[in-house]
């Protein structure tokens, strides 16, 4: 298992560098400069800044310069937030996104799986139809609609939760719920369909014939293999949910890392964008790896093959 993990990790590194290179080049190729503003900048000053940040040579030269810095652990400085290194920005904002994201992730799984299992157990009945409809509803309401409505209801209608801000646990509740809700729906649907498929397999039929109760049939026997599609989905989900959501962060004024994916591109802040994309990419690789590992644990057939 360890050699498998190591092999996977090593083979992921070139992917990370490829992503980094593409990201760097795309931002540099986009029209406009990180140093312009509505007030014109004289060419000498712009040249001075480009030299300072190593952005004055040809594109391959710039990329090489950047990569040599990255290999030494230096992700560069933000071009917009002067005097701040990309590492410092990520260090400050990533833990906040991680905190919010992990709460939402737990909520998504914690509610999604039992609801899905429950619906599968009640397959074809009214409860199943209701739950199915609800799941569909949660995943089809976009966050930018859900979040303001939630604020309106829970901060102004019945003022029990703060509408935005960061610093106290109570401020986490609304954003975590809004971030989690669509994924609750997805998790529930994946669990339900996985379960329905497993319920019709031979080993479940055997267990049922042996007289195992319907409840323990689902939760003890069928659920484990039924979670496989969910695990495959949860890997990338974890990476994206943990690196923050632009919409949720903006609406709830959460100082996380999510907004830099967009503002960094708008500002042509090439090092910042590349830095956050690198983090996202590494998280994605890591969680896919964890998902694969969990799949092997959940499915004995895969374990035997590997």
């Amino acid at each position: 298992m360890i050699s498998f993990l190591l092999r996977r990790l090593l083979s992921s590194l070139p992917v990370a560098f490829l992503v980094l290179a593409i990201c760097f080049l795309l931002v540099r190729l986009a029209p406009g400069s990180p140093f312009t503003s509505e007030r014109a900048l004289d060419p000498a000053t712009r040249h001075m800044l480009e030299t300072k940040y190593g952005l004055n040579g040809s594109l391959p030269e710039q990329l090489l310069h950047y990569f040599s810095n990255v290999l030494q652990g230096d992700l560069g400085e933000s071009l917009k937030f002067r005097g701040r290194t990309v590492v410092e920005i990520i260090q400050q904002s990533l833990p906040r996104s991680l905190l919010l994201g992990s709460i939402s992730f737990i909520l998504a799984l914690g509610f999604g799986i039992p609801l899905g299992a429950f619906a599968a157990a009640r397959h074809g009945r009214t409860t199943d139809q209701w739950l199915n409809g609800l799941a569909l509803l949660t995943l089809s309401i976009p966050t930018f609609v859900l979040a303001p409505v939630a604020v309106l209801c829970l901060s102004f209608g019945i003022p029990i939760l703060p509408p935005a801000g960061w610093g106290t646990p109570i401020q986490l509740i609304l954003p975590a719920l809004c971030l989690a809700l669509p994924f609750v729906g997805v998790c529930a649907r994946l669990t339900r369909s996985g379960l329905l498929e497993t319920i019709n397999t031979d080993f479940v039929r055997t267990a049922r014939a042996k007289g195992v109760s319907e409840q323990s049939l689902i939760f003890l026997h069928a659920l484990r293999p039924a979670l496989l599609p969910l695990v495959a989905y949860a890997g990338p989900l974890a990476a994206s949910i943990l690196t923050g959501s632009l919409v949720i962060e903006e609406i709830f004024a959460i100082p996380g890392v999510g907004q830099f994916f967009v503002s960094g591109v708008i500002n042509r802040d090439v090092f910042l964008v590349s830095g956050v994309v690198l983090i996202y990419c590494l998280l994605l690789l890591l969680f896919n790896l964890i998902a694969d590992w969990l799949t092997a644990i959940l499915d004995p057939r895969i374990r035997i093959q590997s």
Binding site: A40, A253, L294
Partner: protein, 528 residues
């Protein structure tokens, strides 16, 4: 079994780590302000935005400062004299001044800071505002050295500045962000990172105690400030919130006490706020306008530009779209600049506009080439562009294509004159028409129209050299007349309105003013 222990273990670990690092509760500051987006820097030499300028004016104090009504009042300088030719200013600093770390403050600190802002290596985006000082421009462009910049410090409490031209507004200019002093030893020791809370040193009413990215800047009363009794609140938090609805929610729920920017109030609810006691609108020194690219047809022809300008119904734009009681703009410079009387602009005149277009060879718009209107992507810009597009179609019969670009691309298009008509706005840096009119001098970086008129240039140059203030303003008005009634490289559309939101029963020391200056030190709780 591994599975059952694995997931809770992993998530628990992540949660615990994040909880520890991310969730620290802190007591609420005396005043919480929504200040707009995350500040890009707090180094006065590098600041180019208003929200950073606001924080800098609390962290540093210049020779003069602005009071809560936007008036220029003595700051670090107690008094000053001007030579008879109006070109040499001698500032006398207050005695016993100190930096926030206790170091003595001297006139040499100003000399160092101004030369630093001018140094090409600093790459200050606003260095231009120091160009009035003799030798400054040459030093900044690398043609001479720092010694040739004529700033003298005869003694630690005296600063003498020689200017190229008589500049009556120079003392008030020294309150501008780029002119604020920085602490030499700190800047030299920590380089670009000196503005971090741990290393920061300043001389303003407040000192920097915390700065969390995208979260807040926390300020605390500076005990070393020369007049600490003047500062009314001991702790202020400036939140970084750029989304209007979020800022407004924070304000409405009492998490923030003050909204400092119209951009932080959702446009949709603006009309409903009028009449509310906590809504405080006021005119601003800023103008929304359209530029023509005069280097290519059809806008090479002044008659076409004039026709386009006269065809506009600006009233309907402020009534239907901006809805903040903005005054329509017939001139580039907003009204209210002390002693300046801007020329009368030209009112809307559809029939003359149609006639002019006919004279230019496009009767009722026939044969008019397809032109485009460039704007940066924002709801407001788009609505205005759509309305103006419809007006030109209706009055002149011309088709104007809308071209929307995101910010950086739009700026590049402006710089490269890659447009026909483009949306623009300009915020004045100081209360003098020069801050607007200087943009359109030939080959200025901010000209961005390709327009050049020797008469206009010479009027601005004469105004620069003119010692008589009345005569000087008259020359500037004459120049503006050319700009907006004869040459039309631009169409002024409306002047911005600033809006403050605060509860007047709780807070005072805040007054809407033309320069949108609201010094934190003068804000305080209403005494009951």
């Amino acid at each position: 079994m591994t599975f059952r222990r694995g997931i809770p273990g992993l998530t628990g670990l992540i949660l615990a780590c994040s909880l520890l690092s991310a969730c620290q509760t802190r007591p609420r500051a005396d005043l919480v302000i929504c200040n707009g987006a995350e500040p890009q820097t707090l180094d006065p030499a590098l600041v180019s935005g208003q929200l950073e300028g606001r924080l800098c004016s609390a962290l540093y104090e210049g020779l003069t400062r602005r009071d809560s009504r936007g008036r220029s009042v003595p700051g670090i300088a107690e008094k000053w004299e001007v030579s008879p030719d109006g070109k040499t200013y001698t500032f006398h600093l207050r005695p016993n001044l100190h930096w926030s770390n206790g170091d003595p403050f001297t006139s040499e600190d100003f000399r160092y800071s101004w030369l630093r802002a001018l140094n090409p290596k600093t790459a200050s985006p606003y260095a231009e505002i120091l160009f009035g000082i003799s030798g400054a421009k040459e030093f900044q462009s690398g043609k001479s050295n720092a010694e040739s910049v004529r700033i003298e410090t005869p003694d630690p409490l005296t600063l003498r500045v020689h200017l190229d031209h008589p500049t009556p507004y120079f003392p008030s200019l020294t309150s501008f962000t780029t002119y604020l002093p920085v602490h030499q030893a700190t800047v030299e020791k920590y380089g670009d990172r000196w503005t971090q809370p741990k290393t920061w040193v300043g001389n303003g009413t407040y000192r920097l105690i915390d700065w969390k990215i995208n979260d807040r800047v926390s300020l605390e009363k500076n005990p070393q400030y020369h007049n600490p009794e003047r500062v009314r609140l001991s702790r202020i938090d400036a939140l970084a919130v750029s989304r209007a609805s979020t800022a407004f929610n924070l304000y409405s729920s009492g998490q923030a006490d003050l909204l400092l920017d119209k951009g932080l109030i959702p446009a949709l609810i603006l009309p409903h706020l009028r009449g509310r006691p906590d809504f405080h609108p006021g005119p601003l020194l800023a103008t929304y306008f359209y530029r023509f690219n005069v280097t290519r047809p059809p806008f090479q022809d002044v008659r076409v530009r004039r026709a386009f300008a006269l065809a506009l119904d600006k009233e309907s734009i402020v009534d239907k779209i901006t809805r903040g009681n903005e005054p329509i703009a017939q001139t580039l410079t907003p009204r209210g600049i002390s002693d300046y009387r801007p020329p009368e602009g030209l009112p809307s005149d559809p029939s003359t506009a149609q006639g002019l277009l006919k004279l230019a060879g496009y009767p009722e718009g026939h044969g008019f080439p397809r032109v485009s209107l460039l704007y940066n992507k924002s709801e407001l810009n788009e609505q205005i562009a759509v309305e103006i597009q419809a007006q030109w179609k209706r009055v002149l019969g011309v088709e104007v294509e809308l071209r929307n670009q995101e910010w950086a691309t739009y700026l590049r298009s402006l710089d490269e004159l890659d447009f026909d008509i483009a949306r623009s706005s300009w915020v004045g840096d100081y209360d003098d028409p020069n801050t607007f009119l200087d943009c359109f001098v030939t080959s200025r970086g901010n000209n961005r129209t390709g327009w050049s008129d020797p008469t206009y240039d010479s009027l601005l140059n004469r105004a620069l050299a003119e010692p008589n203030p009345t005569q000087r303003l008259r020359l500037l008005a004459e120049a503006e007349t050319i700009l907006i009634t004869q040459a039309f490289p631009i169409i002024p559309i409306y002047h911005f309105v600033g809006c403050l939101m605060f509860d007047p029963k709780k807070w005072d020391g805040l007054y809407p003013n033309l320069l949108d200056e609201h010094p934190f030190s003068e804000i305080g709780r209403v005494q009951k």
